[in-house]
Symmetry: C2
Subunit: 469 residues, 2 copies
């Protein structure tokens, strides 16, 4: 029987899409990795996933798992391959508030999980701009980061257990909700961040956290990145580590934002080099309880720290959100970043991590280097400064493949020199394969290839991604 | 050249121990896994480790890494093998207080790292009774847990980067200090908890945390384990998640303690079924600053919560430590556990994890089962209740291998039924191989064997441990 007919036999006619229907799934948000999948499969349950993988394994057919299609590294590029979407496996099986866990299927959309957790007065803290389309399977496969990592960690830190279908169709049950479990190699963390190259994540046990009872959010302008670090350290100290987000937006970003999103009002009358969005979350009642004068302790803590630093010249300006609408607008300014960055091509996008005290050094050295390599280039930077994570993108002056390579290597050189990472949270996919080959420890690359061969001996699982050939 | 002579050529005559000198290293704390190593090697640096592994690999000689010899699972049993001790590689290379990281060699003793962190007003939070002998390499290889996991996580959660020497002598450099790094498979977490079966951890980048400015510590008696959970949830809620430890000591443990350690005074005049050691750590200044009346807010919070619950009948009794000496004595009562448990043989020791609300169910069901299987058996239980981790040990009425197996399987049955783990923090080593074969997901076991084969194709790395043959 022909492959497509066999797939129809597994998932039903309505859930094997081909031609234009498949092309719609192949359309990539970045515009760089658009593809024509051979077919898009939408299984209803784990058994169907197993049957698909057994068939793919037997026939040597490549399978590319797809989630919300908002990854930036081309990890779901599936030209000529079977694209596997778990969108119908979107049950939130269980939320157990006392145990603070959610048991979910991989097709659950991140914002749906947020809503379900909030209904129990809890949060699933992982969040980023694309939360309305990203799915649990995708955030696990890419070990997504985002804006709250400074307090809650990456996806990896929020996952207790997994269920995985291997390339040969076998199920691996790692669905533990335990906080201690030393029974052999840590297979769970091998799948998290593997970008779908080792198997299909079908379900997960995720940690929930107490919902902060109050937030205090501010936009702050400081003279230098060094002052920003001092601000972070002081706020962490005074709040006992309650900083939820610490986001960096330099002057160039604010200028682009004003052009692209004139609906968002400027925060400060003047232009400042270093603008920070800071948010503090109060979980203890005593930090969140309204006082007789109507003030909220966590907001008072933030305001007092900022006022004190303003007086000492450590800050240039600061605005504390007084309403939920003001808080939302502050976040909208930050979350427009991907849209702004990808609005202009060609683009040399870099998602890098650096030791916290090396961020300023990196930017200075890059400015010098860029002056040497491409005087006409523009840059656009935004970052999760609390994690040392910069989204540093260059718009080169011309669309020249050699120049683009040179710029990419210049970034890599400085990142390597400062002992940073060339991919902090976006992963490798197709976009960073050359960098991976050049920069990753050679022994580590060798062992990754051996792990890949052990889990996926026929090489059908998201082929050509993550590991350089 | 003979093997020993070649080893002397690598590490020097003084650091290749044989005969009685080697036997001294083979002496096991539990008394169950004492062995005669062929030789004990004490390399001075990573290059010597590489040379040893190359030689071992070329000659097919088994190598067993050894750390503080306080593991309870026989993971360092090395009869006839080369035992590799990194005790001389004990440099704390760097403590960077602003970045909150420590860069250390694997031979650093845990309590030395504690001291070095405290000198910078920081902590390395991992702690347990054997901290004066356990080394960094050992705690990483076993993903050690201990008493502060409820707040800070297991060793895995406290490690940012690793350096590993593979069985063939190659070095894998994963020494990142970054909080975000998505560059391929998570090899770091594969080595953490691998019990030395995949390679030798030679150095690590570890997270440091702010030192709590004040602690409040109490012994509390509650009627049932359900009441203990309510106490934990209430204290977590009121302190915004600042519970550092939540340790369970049942009446039977307190009775044994009184026999074995008469120097430690009883806490309560009466006998209570459920005794809890709880500690809260205040990191924010406002929770730690002495008030005009001399009180400390975090202590007041704890006292008020306990007083309120005592009034409502949710507690039976409570004592809050008023001095550092009282706090230390409370901890001494808890940390005598291993000594008490291993003072009597034969012993069916179980280090299990359960969902928090299943701990009481487990104990009830085991009591019934034990009545059926061995009426004369005694039990001794102590646990990290905040993590659902029980050290549940049975002293059977007679030294009968069949009975011991039956008891072990009875525990496993109930643990599996409650979706718990048969090894929470002590690992597998030799002691839990049969359980691993019986209880671990078969597909997971298969993939573990394949990973082992990829990293250690000649099978020289701590052979016979962790993975059932």
């Amino acid at each position: 029987m022909e492959l497509i007919a066999q797939l129809v036999g597994i998932v039903g006619d309505a859930h094997v899409l081909t031609g234009d229907d498949a092309a719609a799934y192949g359309k990539d948000w970045t515009g760089k990795y658009t593809c024509q999948p051979r077919a898009v499969l939408r299984p209803a349950n784990r058994d169907q996933v197993c049957a698909i993988m057994r068939l793919a394994s037997d026939t040597g057919t490549p399978v590319v798992p797809v989630s919300g299609k908002t990854g930036l590294a081309g990890g779901a590029f599936a030209d000529g391959a079977l694209m596997l979407s778990l969108e119908r496996m979107n049950a939130i099986r269980e939320i157990r508030p006392d145990a603070r866990v959610a048991v979910v299927e991989a097709g659950v959309i991140l914002s749906s999980l947020h809503d379900a957790a909030e209904a129990q007065d809890l949060i699933f803290p992982l969040t980023f701009g694309a939360r309305g389309s990203a799915m649990v399977g995708g955030v696990l496969a890419t070990n997504a980061g985002g804006s709250n990592v400074v307090r809650y960690g990456n996806t990896r830190d929020l996952c207790l257990g997994l269920e995985v279908v291997l390339p040969d169709g076998r199920v691996m049950d790692l669905m533990s909700e335990l906080h201690k479990d030393n029974t052999g190699y840590d297979l769970k963390d091998l799948f998290i961040g593997a970008e779908g190259t080792l198997g299909i994540i079908t379900a997960a046990v995720l940690k929930l956290r107490p919902k902060p009872r109050a937030y205090a959010t501010a936009m702050v302008a400081v003279p230098t990145l060094g002052d920003a670090l001092s601000l972070l350290n002081r706020l962490q100290e005074e709040t006992g580590g309650a900083v939820e987000a610490f986001e960096y937006m330099p002057a160039e970003y604010m200028a682009r934002l004003a052009e692209c999103r004139p609906d968002l009002r400027p925060v400060f009358a003047e232009t400042h080099a270093v603008n920070i969005l800071v948010e503090v979350g109060a979980t203890a009642p005593r930090d969140a309880a309204p006082q007789p004068d109507g003030s909220i302790p966590v907001a008072t803590q933030l305001e007092e720290a900022l006022a004190d630093m303003l007086e000492n010249g450590a800050l240039l300006d600061a605005v504390v959100a007084q309403t939920q609408a003001q808080r939302a607008e502050m976040w909208e300014r930050r979350e427009a970043a991907a849209e702004i960055t990808f609005s202009r091509l060609p683009l040399v996008d870099n998602d890098i991590a650096l030791p916290l005290d090396a961020v300023g050094i990196f930017l200075e050295r890059m400015e010098t280097r860029l002056g040497e390599l491409d005087k006409g280039a523009d840059t656009i930077t935004v970052g999760h400064l609390g994690d040392g994570n910069l989204h540093y993108a260059i718009w080169p002056s011309r669309d020249d493949a050699a120049l683009i390579d040179t710029l990419r290597e210049a970034v890599e050189d400085i990142v390597a020199d400062l002992r940073g990472s060339f991919s902090a949270e976006h992963g490798i996919g197709l976009s960073k394969l050359a960098t991976m080959r050049r920069r990753k420890d050679g022994v580590a690359l060798d062992m990754m290839a051996q792990i890949k061969a052990a889990f996926d001996p026929t090489g059908i699982m998201n082929p050509g991604k993550l590991l350089p050939s």
